[in-house]
Symmetry: D2
Subunit: 342 residues, 4 copies
């Protein structure tokens, strides 16, 4: 931490600040300017985070020096780029993964049809929600365990690993018993109890960025999971909430290269939620690839206009075929390879 | 819903749209303009929400007509203003409630001291976190059940009802067995599993607005709780996340009168989190009163600079005394009465 | 400035950074941590602002120490609170000013009627736009000089000083020859040519905060005006643009006490534009008073539903009468006096 | 417009609303629901925009049907994609343009060197500011006319057309006499006097999106220029202001495909301002290409660390060479051709 004092700070105030810092085992270093004094704190910044430095008499500003995340930081991995296994494939460090499927698991037939189609076009994981977070309590909230069973049957038939959301600490074990990857949704990105719980199981976690989460918040959420012993976190940019209303969310594309610089974890983009409309899926997805994403999660539905949720942003089968055809040359330019078929 | 068609929509497209709407039991009503046709849908809009109308061929825009919340809407209550009992007192419909106390329960002594002080100054409920949502996994996360016990002991000694946060569906019963009001924090405002669970217990719920939640989102979150049979929801404006960084959050003061117009539920303001700094607590709190708030939640700590969390924004005892003195004339102007002592 | 170096910074990089800083006449002060070094720069920070310190090899972060505004800063005024004369009255340092009138000057009769009504109720300045900034080129853009003439005639008849917007550097002299206060609108808050030009005339400037301006941006805009020799700047909070759409803008109420702490300049609130709707004007206005505002600017129109602009947010005469009645007790609580009649 | 009435609206209120609409020459069409009535207004919506419909008694909501821009709308151009000539080259409809150069014109030598370098690498227009909008009045504000002269000399030597900012209505003629393209900066996007003035000269206008401008606002700003008779507007996405602070602005990538769907005008991206840092320029630029941009504007400086402004985000020569090399394969994938050399 760096502490900047107010104009006219007294020596007693400076002494008091230093005393508070040094009591926690850090050293302080003074740099006196004409009006303000800068107090550099040397040592483990973590211990200082609980101290309300800004409220000590004489303090004007406090600046962090060290990053608050460790396991998630790029430095933590020798290569600077870790990989996460998803079924037989992987994501990260040059391996590109397309996850596709409907918003909700609506039935066995539609899941199987969708899985076969997306696998044929090059997707290497299947998404589908059994427990659905819905803004209104009156909306369809998913098939629950029945949906999980369908997902695992479809995996058995198609070989595609399954990505599905978990919303409740009490369901983590259940969902983990069916799914290959546990998804934590945007609205639960700071549900710390849930983060802790998914950190305790041996399943990769796909962590979606919250609508008002900064990059630092997202990395701290990943740190929660990792701190429990689960290193397999995949991050996902899916748009943030801003004043711009031409799209469902504002796709923060720059977060992708920023994350690649800050963390070794693989970074996915979700162009379906970011744009909220079918025609925006290809441009947003291709842009994510150009910006360095390690994978994509795309909503696909056999008949979007009958979908129980997110029909507006789900590609139909011919659209997904086109989409994947358009994706290939971009992957070639960035030199990434898609996972081989399961 | 009102559906606006694209320029050049065909009759077949219009027929298809009408057919989709009418199949769900609503009637449609056409209004043909020069370039676009407007299709009014008459009947229960709820049934239409799952249909991805915007994706039907020929559709340009879809506008909601009915509000998606019912139990929370102002019309639902005969008076337009419900009250919620908090201990022996109430909040709402003219009764003003001040909830005060530290961010975290740090020990029995500090809680008791704080409770006595805030009660003396006119607070009628005690806040204090036993389970703490923390951005970093390495921060202090509360005393847990030990903290709950302290809270109930302090209630026994002071008569102050206790408000404390619940973060995990598995803790709802436990927390409800100690607390008078269950707080759902900003980060969990769309933790739908938690909302459902607190809707099942017989305890008032203090629901804080999420950092990126619209007023509609907040009311739908309240609807989740109420739809389970728990009518006692208190809403809390605590600041939203915007580009403005001079304060910890941006206090959306106008949300208070907007909420008072939209819902019968009582509306609290939390000037401590909204401003994030001690000197901002009084102006924000008094402004909330002037704008129609039914109560305030204020962080108070015997020695803010040693607080384990939120020390920057916690008033010390003399500051809280001053604060309450300053509050009284504003309450008089708006004609609200504070709850009488427990 | 404080410069924080990257992990693994080399001595040569540190030397290079110091050399760049010291060449501009500042001294540097090193504080070596385990991984990073902190370089404090002592002296006139202004000289450093043009140097792209963040791009120097080895630099990780740069933090400002000094505020970039001087004339506008609170320290610059001995009392910490300056006043600005508006006609015969003043605003600031305890003197409260209500400015009222229609969005646009639509004609002589309606201006005169409005002026008389608002004066009778206690307003001490008249607003009215002759040159109107309109989002669409096809909207009514004001009466121009004809509108200015009407304003000055109405002033002659009622004694109310006149506040009107200037949008073009070429009109500054013209507008200044008619108006008592020059308003710079939100969309021109960073029109630096205009700020410079209004700084050159001897007329108070009412500077509205831009929709995406931080408090610092607003104070730097004031500094532009003041740096030209015009000390009479009144700041105005009128809402910012955020994701929250229940109101036209998001009224950043906390900006009022933050500004009062940062600057000696008087601070107005504009509840009409902030809320964008008539029923929100009173609660937002009263809240602004409770939070420390020095005045209010309120839109009033004899018949809002025929207004050429902003009818949605304009009070009619009976509403304004009620509004002013409701305002008085709040002013009494905060101990502010309205300007005496002109 | 579509007008939705409140629950319990009276027939007299409905009649009054219809009367107000029909008086302006539109027809109304009623659709009565159970609780609310929908009034469709058929005819030229433009005439209704000045009527404060939302404030009429009985009105709950008002929805626009027609777009408020005409000349800028995609329908206005037969092909749906217009081109703008920039020097000997063009931008739009498949022709891709890279504009490069320093933030500010600092001198003849540096401009000439930069122009030669960027031309060699494939840029087909030169940027450089002679009049600089600076947040602080104490920062370097450009060489003024001297800078314009340098730009035109460098054009004479290199053949590169020149893009430079105009900030003041009084300078439009002067700048137009030197420059090939007039840039209107983000802070002046709603400086309507300036938009009107640049609409009157025969020079293409590069219009940057304001930091809090929606896509609709941007298109209305373009409409201002076009309504004066100047059809040659190039739009530029350069990032918006949001809570996300890991980058200087939030690059709203999705605005590019949204604009391509809404307007026939060419769309540029400015990855330098969007990201605010050198390493982010390539990923943001390539993403913009993948998303459909018609060109890029990139800051390049011979020695960024000595730049008088924007050094943090300016590429040096070797970086620009790399950047252009990396760009080529993306252009190939999207099937766009760069303008041929001047």
């Amino acid at each position: 931490m760096i502490i900047v004092t107010r104009k006219g700070v007294t020596d007693a105030e400076i002494d008091h600040i230093r005393e508070r810092v040094e009591r926690l085992g850090l050293r302080t270093h003074l740099s006196r300017g004409e009006e303000r004094t800068i107090i550099g704190c040397v040592g483990d910044e973590e211990r200082l985070r609980s101290v309300p430095l800004a409220t000590l008499p004489g303090v004007e500003a406090v600046h962090e020096v060290q990053r608050p995340y460790k396991l998630a930081s790029r430095d933590f991995d020798a290569r600077g780029a870790s990989t996460v296994a998803v079924g037989d494939g992987t994501i990260g460090d040059g391996a590109f993964l397309v996850i596709a499927g409907p918003c909700s698991v609506e039935g066995r037939e539609m899941m199987l049809k969708t899985a076969r189609h997306v696998r044929e076009q090059g997707a290497r994981a299947l998404r589908g929600g059994a427990f659905k977070p819905r803004t209104s309590p009156y909306s369809f909230r998913g098939l629950g365990e029945e949906g999980l069973k369908i997902l695992s049957e479809v995996r058995a038939e198609t070989g595609l690993p399954v990505v599905t959301e978990v919303m409740d600490t009490r369901q983590v074990e259940l969902v983990a018993s069916y799914a290959d990857v546990l998804q934590v949704g945007a609205r639960n990105m700071q549900n710390f109890a849930l983060l802790t719980e998914v950190g305790r199981v041996q399943r990769p976690v796909l962590l979606k960025r919250g609508m008002s989460a900064t990059v630092k918040d997202l990395l701290l959420a990943a740190e929660y999971v990792m701190a429990q012993g689960n290193p397999d976190v995949i991050l996902c940019e899916r748009g943030i909430r801003t004043f711009a209303t031409a799209t469902r969310n504002t796709f923060d594309l720059a977060a992708i290269p920023v994350l690649k610089r800050e963390t070794h974890l693989p970074v996915l983009a979700d162009p379906s939620h970011a744009g909220g409309s079918r025609p925006l899926v290809p441009p947003l997805a291709y842009a994510a690839v150009a910006a360095g994403a390690d994978g994509l999660m795309v909503e696909v539905h056999p008949e979007p206009e009958t979908a129980t949720s997110d029909g507006e942003q789900s590609l139909d089968f011919p659209e997904f075929t086109e989409f994947m055809k358009g994706l290939a040359p971009f992957l070639e330019v960035v030199g990434k390879r898609t996972a081989t078929a399961g």
